[in-house]
Amino acid sequence: MFKNYLKIAWKVLLRHKLFTFISLFGISFTLLILVVITSFIDHTVGRETPETRQNRILSVTYFRLTTPKGGNLVGPLVSYYFLDKYVRSLEIPERVTIGSFHKNIITYKDQKKFNFAMKYTDGEFWNIYDFKFIEGKGYSTNDVDQVNQVAVITADVRKKYFDDRTAVGKYIKMGEKNFRVIGVVDNVSLLRILPYSDVWVPITNSTANIMEPKIMTNEFPGYFATILANDRNDIPQIKSEFQKRLSQVEFTEGRFDKIWGGAETYGETLSRVFVGGSKEPNLPGLMLILFLLMLLFMILPTINLININISRIMERSSEIGVRKAFGASSKTLVGQFIIENIAITLLGGTIAIILSLIVLSIINNSGIIPHLHLIMNWRILYKSLLIAVFFGFLSGVYPAYKMSRLQPAEVLRGGE
């Protein structure tokens, strides 16, 4: 019977080519846009190299500092000293790394100008983030303590600066210092803001006085810390341990009297910035807003599809009348129509996935975001299929209900 439904659906599609085109166009473009957005979100927060241990990772990045007079400073603005004192000393985590946000540095080689992002980190950075090494390895805590002038670079830097030849053992000039390359890793997308850089060097090479006892750095942006938990069940405890530390912060500058922040996942930080007034994370709030936006975007294509579907059904009213007269129940007919509609939606979904592969590669190659690598994976495929079925169901229910209310006698006589 299911097979028959599909057969009928196929015949109906072929009968009215204009309506079929309109339906498929609407479905596939709506889904295309949703797939591209899903891919963006997945690329930003999903589990992907170098953040493969994401379920055990928390980060400390974004703060709100308030002054007694009501002044506010918001952003990634805390110092290395602050993170060293209040995050590295946490007892529950397995590992903690502290690094700077990347800064772009201009360097010259053979009269050519290069613009590379550079990041200062400690040795633990390479144990927490799971980079894919093409050559060599990362620097150790020992390298950092010894102030060794070593660097890890990306494949992209190797290509530009070393003409794509073996880079380990060669030197790269960043600022005033020459760094010996000890590792080459795959490119990292800018959307992976914490691990992202082109060149990584030990933090002790920084000329800034990073241990100056101040909460806020005098440069912008400041530093971040990433925490790796032993086990994902430790995460709530780590969060509360850090909150306890925050309540005991010494305000060494004297300007501030309160600090808001947290050890959070990336989504929680985003929700704190956009929904929680940078005070408390509000992940459900952010999800709700995203979901409402998605519904808002889908409402127009859905109404359009309902409209088309009603026209389609009315055209088939004689078929429905005959089936009803021969004893088909309304339930069967509604079921049949919804299945037909979901089948069409899935067809549109397939077109959407093919189109989105093209669109994603266009976005990747456009260079709007450095090293962006949007891909289609099973997670996104699964989510988009869910969205497609939801969409098909939504646009099928009302027309199916209208159809089930048709009076067989009226319809067969030729009226409406």
Binding site: K103, I106, E219, F297, L300, P301
Partner: protein, 399 residues
């Protein structure tokens, strides 16, 4: 005639409701899109307030160099820059030129009226390097050295809000705890680029000859720039030579050069990301809706062959039928537009986006109405033509 059309639509209200709903939402979408486009276009047409041609910026990051040595090194940088024959002027600034995310800062007060403004800093040469024309008063100069109150320059926007329509020149304002005196007024400095709106701007003076603790320019280490104006026809090689020379002078600084032209292009690209995405998405939505409307109007017209045949038989002309189908769709969109208009007008009434002017809303409103009428009539053209071609004999015979 109109009454008859309303009656026709009313009789089929259930069927038409969905179409009206679609037009209603499309109207809202069009309204939002047009507000954005008109707003950006309006910004683009306003003067920028400064001239970026032939200007280079040297970003200065002095990390943790001693405060005392910073001033000395900055002065050495000036001397080094002057040695280049290509350089015709230079100025220190904290101006966030072509940087979309500008620092919002100072809380100002005048006679109990509190306003916050975007803070820029510039030295005495700043206006000359950037070709900034003053509307009233003067730019900073050596005569400010003896002034007890810190001199500031404001833009018209800030003057209007802070002084509530009065003239602000020469008046003393309260900036956090200290007193500032307004020595000059500019029409505008739209530091974030051509596509951004006009903000409230306060410019403070950089004076490196003050005692070190008084130079607020040194308090934080971001956004510091040395602007360099070059003579026309300076080649790209200049940038590398300049950076090499300056880096050798300021060894403990981290310097980066960028031409204003480059900075402008990247700032405009960033400002364009949101509108471009909005245009693509809404363009798709509107195209989708028009296809749908076209399909439904066509289908409905086909279903009404008998009625149209009867009309023709009773003496209606082909042109009359054509006009009827067209005007039916126009009446339908009128319903959608009325509903959409009621909702859309809430945006300016509730002042959701405070910085958009009323005339932008008005223009967007009128254009959206026109746009919806044009789209719906285009959707009805072809079905109307088919309906006009119906032969009464054929149609009635089928029946």
């Amino acid at each position: 005639m109109l009454k008859h059309l309303f009656k026709l639509i009313w009789n089929r209200k259930r069927r038409n409701l969905l179409m009206i709903l679609e037009i209603f939402i499309s109207f809202i979408v069009m309204f939002v899109v047009l507000i954005t486009v008109i707003f950006l276009l309006g910004n683009y047409l306003k003067p920028l307030g400064f001239n970026y041609k032939n200007v280079w910026m040297v970003n200065i990051d002095w990390q943790n160099a001693e405060k005392t040595s910073i001033v000395e090194t900055l002065k050495q940088l000036e001397t080094a820059v002057e040695a280049f024959p290509e350089v015709s002027g230079h100025a220190f600034s904290e101006s966030y030129l072509f940087t979309p995310a500008a620092m919002s800062g100072d809380n100002l007060e005048y006679k109990g009226n509190k306003v916050s403004a975007n803070l820029l800093r510039g030295d005495d040469q700043f206006a000359k390097v950037l070709d900034i024309q003053l509307a009233e008063g003067r730019w900073f100069g050596p005569e400010d050295n003896t002034s007890l109150k810190d001199p500031v320059i404001i833009n018209r926007n800030l003057e209007k809000e802070l002084f509530r329509g009065e003239s602000g020149l020469g008046k003393t304002i309260l900036n956090e705890d200290e007193e500032n005196i307004v020595v000059g007024i500019v029409d505008d400095i739209r530091n974030s680029g051509e596509l951004t709106r006009s903000k409230k701007i306060l410019v403070r003076r950089i004076n490196l000859d003050q005692s070190i603790d008084d130079i607020s320019f040194l308090s934080e280490n971001f956004g510091k720039r040395l602007l360099i104006k070059t003579v026309p026809g300076t080649d790209a090689q200049f940038e590398e030579r300049l950076l090499k020379q300056l880096s050798s002078v300021a060894k403990d600084f981290r310097l980066k050069t960028i031409s204003m032209e480059e900075a402008r292009i990247s700032a405009n690209k960033q400002s364009m990301i949101f509108p471009v995405v909005l245009l693509i998405v809404s363009g798709f939505l509107i195209f989708n809706v028009s296809l749908g409307l076209f399909g439904v109007i066509w289908y409905n017209t086909n279903k009404r062959r008998a009625e149209i045949g009867l009309r023709r038989a009773l003496g209606s002309t082909a042109k009359g039928i054509y006009i009827q189908i067209l005007s039916e769709s126009l009446v339908l969109s009128t319903f959608g537009i009325i509903l959409g208009g009621i909702l859309a007008i809430q945006i300016p009434i509730l002042n959701v986006v405070s910085f958009i002017e009323t005339n932008v809303y008005t223009l967007a409103f009128i254009l959206s109405i026109l746009f919806i009428y044009v789209i719906t009539s285009i959707c009805a053209l072809y079905p109307g033509k088919i309906a006009a071609g119906i032969q009464p004999a054929m149609a009635l015979h089928e029946e």
